[in-house]
Symmetry: D2
Subunit: 343 residues, 4 copies
C-alpha cells in the first residue's frame, strides 16, 4: 500500500479526500493533519466519520509527513509552498490543492494572493494537474498543482475549441455558477444557511482569483492571449459547479460532439453528451466526472458549451487523487470508479 | 373599491396575485376562479389562506367576470384570447399574464405556442405591459399583455444601453437563471423536490418561448434586429430570477450608473446599485422591485449587467398589479409598497 | 405617530421587526441601533433594505432612546436589564424580546443564563407577553417580556388542556422543531449552509434555555408542577417552528376542536384546524398566526397537538408588535394583518 | 458472480439499489426492469447513469428473472406477491422491498393496503428482513420482506429496551421525521419542490401504513401488545430519517449506552453514540448505518432514543443488499462498507 498524508483535514476538500483515500484499493491514509485539532478524533469535526473513532488528526509534523510516499495539501494558500521543498527533498511526492503552484508568474501570484512566493524555484518544475491536458507530464512529476474548480470546468469546456483555433479570442464569456462548498468551511456571514438558501447572486465580479489561472491556461491552448470575461455566481446548494461558456466562432466548427469526443477519447472522466443533451450537476455529484453539452447557433455564429463538475471532486479532491494515481503509476481511475450519488 | 377578478387561481401566479389584491387599499377581490375547484375554499389549494375560509373559488363564468371592473388572466396560454374579447366589449379592463397578446406577429405566436391565435384583431390594441417602457400607453389601455419573467429582467437590463446605441447588436448574451416557481404548480417530474434541490442545469437551450418576446422588444429599443443568445437555467430555489447580461460596446459608455439612474429616475420599482454593487435575489423577494448592477470592462470593451427580480412579483403578479394601477388611474405603486421578505 | 426604537438591528429578529414597523400604520421607526455599525446604512447589513438608503443604524444612546415612546430590545441576554430601568424612569415603554424578564426566579435565571440579574426589582412588574394568556395585564404594562419561540408554540398548544385539568401532568412530551433562524445571525459552524441543509438532528437535549420558561408558564396554567420532556430539533429550513405535543389524558377530553376554538375565540391570531386538519409551517410564513391541529386517540388515552408558528413573527417580532399594540392602546392586530408569504 | 435482478428500476429505491449493486464485488446486475421504459437506457430516467449508456431497462419477463440467482422487488405493493411464487419455484431467491410480505395477518394487510393478498401461502415462510433481529433466519431464507424505513429506525431504537422489559408498554411515542424521498418518485402535488422546501408538517396522522408493521414487530420484542403513538412528519430535505422515541421506564434502566452496545455488538451497521452524543442524518447519508443516541431523565422516569438512518439505504436499498448478502452466504457488509456521503 502507498502511504499518503493529507495536510489540512478540517476543510471540505480535506474531508472529501479522506473519504476517497479510505475507499482506495492501493492507498493507505497514513495521516490527516490539523494543527488545532491534533490528537482529536476526526469525528470531532466530521460526523460522517462518527463510527471511525480510530481516525485521529495529527499535527503536520515533518517527521510524520516524510514517512509518507505522497502528501496532499488541502490547505489555505501559503502552507504548501512553505512545506513542499522539504518534502520533495525527502523524496515525498506532493499534490497541492491550493493555489501556491498554479500561476507561472510570480508577480501575478503576489498580486492576486497578497503574499510573497517563497518557493519560486519550484514553479518551473510544478506541473498543472489537469490530466486531460498534461497527463504525461503529471506521470513524471514530483510536484503537481491541482487546478481550481472554476478553471477545471472552464478549461475543459473551451480547450478543444481553442486548440483548433475555432474561437475569436476576444469573445470568450464564462458565466460560472458554484455551490457554496467552494467557499470552504469557514465562519463567514456569506456562507450561513440564512444567507445562501433561496438566494442567487454574482460575486467576485471585479476580479476573482481563478481568472488569471484560467487566462494562463487557455492562452496556452490558444497560443495567444485572450479577452475572457469570467463571472462567478453562488448557487443555493452545496456541491456542483457549471460553467456556461459563450464564444463567437472563426468558422463553422462542424460536428462539435465528435470534436470533443475525439479530443477526450482516452480520458475516462470526460463525458460528452449527444447533440441535444444538457448536463446537470446532480449527474456528477460525488463522482470525478466532467459532463459537457454543446451547441452551435449558426445564425449567431456562436457556440455555447455547458461544462459541469462536482467542485469538491473533479474540482478538488477527486482530481487530486487522479493526479496521485498517475504520479504513483496506478490506473488513472483507481479508487474513482463510483457512480454519482443521486438521488 | 374597484372590483377585480382573477381567472386562474390555482397557479403560483394566481395565488400571489390574490395575496397582493387582498392587501391592496383600492381593489376588492370580487372573484378568483378555478373551473375544477369551483365552490371549494381557496384554502383547499393554498394553505396560506387556511384562516380565510370565506374565500372560495368560483367558475369562470362570463356573468361573474363582467361584473368586475378589471380581470386578470393567470391562465395557461389560450384562455385569455378566448375570453378577453367578450370582457372588453362589456367594458371590463383586461390584464393578461399569459403569452396570448405578447407577440405582435401571429406566425411567431403560432410557431412558438402551437395553437392558432383566435383574437388577432386585438393584437394591435394590446399594450406590452412593461411600465418602464410603455407607461403612458398602459394608462390608456383596455388590454395589457404582461411580459414574461425572463423578458422583464432582460429588457430592463439591456434597454438603456440599446436606446443609446451603445451595444454591438450581434454580441448580446443573456445567461438567465430562475427559481422553479417559474415553471408553475404542475405535476411534472422536473419540478419534484428530489429533482430540483441541490441541482443546477440549463434548459430550453434549443428555443425557449421567451426568446421571441425578448427579441421583439429589444429590437424596438435598438431600432434594429439583434443577434441575441438567451440561455435559461433552473436554480434550486423557489422564487427569484437573475439575468446576467453581456455585450460588446460600440464606444466607451461613460458612467453606467448615472445612465441607468437617469433612465429610470421616475420609475419607482427600479433600483440601480452603486458602481461596486451586486444585486441578489433575496433583496427583492416578495417585492415588485428590479435591482440592477453594472460593470464596464474597458480592456474587453464589454459591459455586464446584473438584473434581478422576484419572478412571481415583478415577473408576474406584481407587474400585473402595477399595470392595473396605471389602467385604473391609481398610484403606480398602490398596494405594492412592501419591503422585501427577508430573512 | 408613535415613535418606536429598535435596540439591536443586526439580528434576524431586529430586521424582521423593522420590516413590520415600517409597514405599520401608527408606528414610526425613530431609530434602529447597532453599536458596531452606527452611522452605516441599514442596507449595509440587510440587502432587503437596499433601496432605503436613508435608513441608518444609530448608536444605542440613552438620549436617542428616551425620545421614543416605546423601545424594543432585540438584543442578546443582558442588554435589556441594563437599559430598561432608565428608559422606564423616563416614561418609555419597553418590550424585551430577550430572556431578561421571562423567568420569575432569579436563581433559575442565573443558572440558565450564567449571569447575575441586575434589574431584579423589575421582575415582578414585568408581564409575560403572551397576549393569549395575559392580554389585560399587557394592556396596562410598562415592561413586557416577550416569550421565546418554543415556549410560544408549546404553551399555546398545551394551555387549554391544562387549564381544564385534562392532562396527566407527568406525561407531557414536547417534540419541537425549528428552522435555523431561531439560532440567530451569528458566525457559528452549526449554522453554515453546508451543516444545515439536507440534515436533521436534535440539539440542546441535555437542557435548553426555553425549558424553565415553558415549565414556569405551564405550571401556572395547570396550577401544579409538571413533568415535561422538551426536545428541540433543527430543521433544514429558515423560518418556521412546530411543536408536536403528546400527553395522556385524565378523562375523555370531548370535542377538542370546540374546546380550543372557545378558548381562543377572541384571539385573532390563533387558528384551530378542523378535526381532520394538520397545520404546516408554510401556512404561517411571515404572519403572526399560530395554527393548531388536534387529535385524540381513545385507545391510547392520548392527545396529540400540532402547534405551528413562524418563529421570527409570532415567535419573536410579530408577537413583540402585538404586545406593543396592546400597550399603546392600538388594535391588537394593527400592522399585522398580512396573509402569509407563500408560495 | 451472483446474478441479481431489480424489478422496478424507475423509483428512488430501485436506482439506489442499482448504484449499490454496480459497486458490489460479488454481485452482477443481470437486469433492471421497467415495463414502461423497456429497451430504453437507464440514463433516460436517471442522469447519474448518463455515462453508462449500455445499461438498459428490460421488461419484467419471467424468463429474464428466472435466469437470476436473486431478485429484488422495488415495486409498488402487489407486484411481488404476484411474481414471487414463480420465482421461488424456479429456485430464485427473493428480496421484497415492498410491503407484500411484512405483515403476518392477512386481514391487517388487506385493511391497510386495500387489496387482497394473493400469496398467503408464503407469509409464514417469509422472513422479516431486519438482520439485527433475525439474522440467522435470513441466512436460511428464500424470501425476505424488507422492513419499511420508519419501522427500521423505530424498531432498532426500541427493541433493546423492550427485550429487557424496561418500558411501560402503554407509553411509547415515536415522533418520526423523514426526507421526501420516502414518498417515492411520483407525480403528486405534495412532493413538488415548491411544496416541500422551507416547509414542515406532520402527515399520515390518522393512520400510516407503517404503524401495524412497527406494532407487530415491537410486540414480538416485548412479548406483549403495545400502546404506540406513531406520528410521521415530512422534512424539507431529500434523504434521511430520524425517529425520536419516548417512553416511561418500569425501573432504572442503568447504563443505556452499554445496554445498546452489547445488544448490537456484532452488528456492523449499528453505531451507538457516547452518553452525551446526538446523531444526525448527514452522518449516515448514503451509508447503511443506523446511529443511535440515548438519554435517561430520572426525574421524569423517561428514556429518549434518537434513531437515525438514510431512508433509502438502511431504510430500503442498503438493507435489501444486507439481506441479500446473508442469503447468499457473503459477508454481511459486502458492497456496503462505504463512508457516508458528507459534506
Amino acid at each position: 500500500m502507498i502511504k499518503v498524508g493529507i495536510v489540512g483535514g478540517t476543510g471540505y476538500t480535506g474531508s472529501e479526500l479522506a473519504r476517497l483515500v479510505l475507499a482506495h484499493p492501493a492507498l493507505e491514509l497514513a495521516c490527516i493533519t490539523s494543527r488545532q485539532d491534533a490528537g482529536q478524533p476526526v469525528a470531532s469535526q466530521w460526523p460522517q466519520f462518527a463510527a471511525r473513532s480510530e481516525l485521529r488528526f495529527s499535527a503536520p509534523d515533518p517527521a510524520t509527513l516524510t514517512a509518507c510516499d505522497l502528501v496532499f495539501f488541502a490547505t489555505p494558500h501559503g502552507t504548501a509552498m512553505a512545506m513542499a521543498p522539504g518534502l520533495l527533498e525527502a523524496g515525498v511526492k506532493v499534490v497541492d490543492l491550493s493555489a501556491d503552484f498554479r500561476l507561472r508568474s510570480i508577480p501575478e501570484f503576489e498580486r492576486w494572493y497578497g503574499m510573497p512566493h517563497t518557493a519560486a524555484e519550484l514553479l518551473e518544475e510544478a506541473v498543472y494537474g489537469l490530466p486531460e491536458l498534461n497527463r504525461e507530464r503529471i506521470r513524471r512529476a514530483r510536484l503537481v498543482a491541482c487546478p481550481g474548480c472554476y478553471p477545471t470546468a472552464t478549461i475543459l469546456g473551451f480547450a478543444p475549441l481553442l486548440e483548433h483555433g475555432l474561437l475569436d479570442p476576444r469573445t470568450l464569456v464564462a458565466d460560472a455558477k458554484s455551490g457554496v462548498s467552494g467557499a470552504g468551511r469557514k465562519l463567514a456571514m456569506g456562507v450561513l444557511y440564512g444567507e445562501v438558501a433561496e438566494n442567487f447572486k454574482a460575486y467576485g465580479v471585479d476580479g476573482h482569483r481563478h481568472l488569471p489561472e484560467i487566462a494562463q491556461v487557455l492562452a496556452e491552448c490558444a497560443g495567444a492571449p485572450l479577452g475572457l470575461c469570467f463571472v462567478p455566481h453562488l448557487l443555493p446548494m452545496f456541491r456542483g459547479l457549471q460553467a456556461t461558456l459563450y464564444a463567437t466562432v472563426t468558422r463553422d466548427p462542424g460536428d462539435l460532439v465528435r470534436l470533443f469526443r475525439e479530443r477526450y477519447a482516452d480520458h475516462p472522466f470526460i463525458f460528452v453528451h449527444d447533440a441535444d443533451g444538457v448536463p446537470e450537476t446532480r449527474a456528477v455529484r460525488g463522482s470525478n466526472a466532467c459532463h459537457i453539452g454543446l451547441r452551435y447557433f449558426p445564425e449567431q455564429g456562436r457556440v455555447v458549451v455547458f461544462s459541469v463538475i462536482d467542485n469538491l471532486v473533479k474540482g478538488a479532491a477527486g482530481q487530486a487523487l487522479q493526479n496521485a494515481n498517475l504520479m504513483c503509476g496506478l490506473a488513472e481511475d483507481a479508487g474513482l470508479p463510483g457512480d454519482p450519488f443521486f438521488p
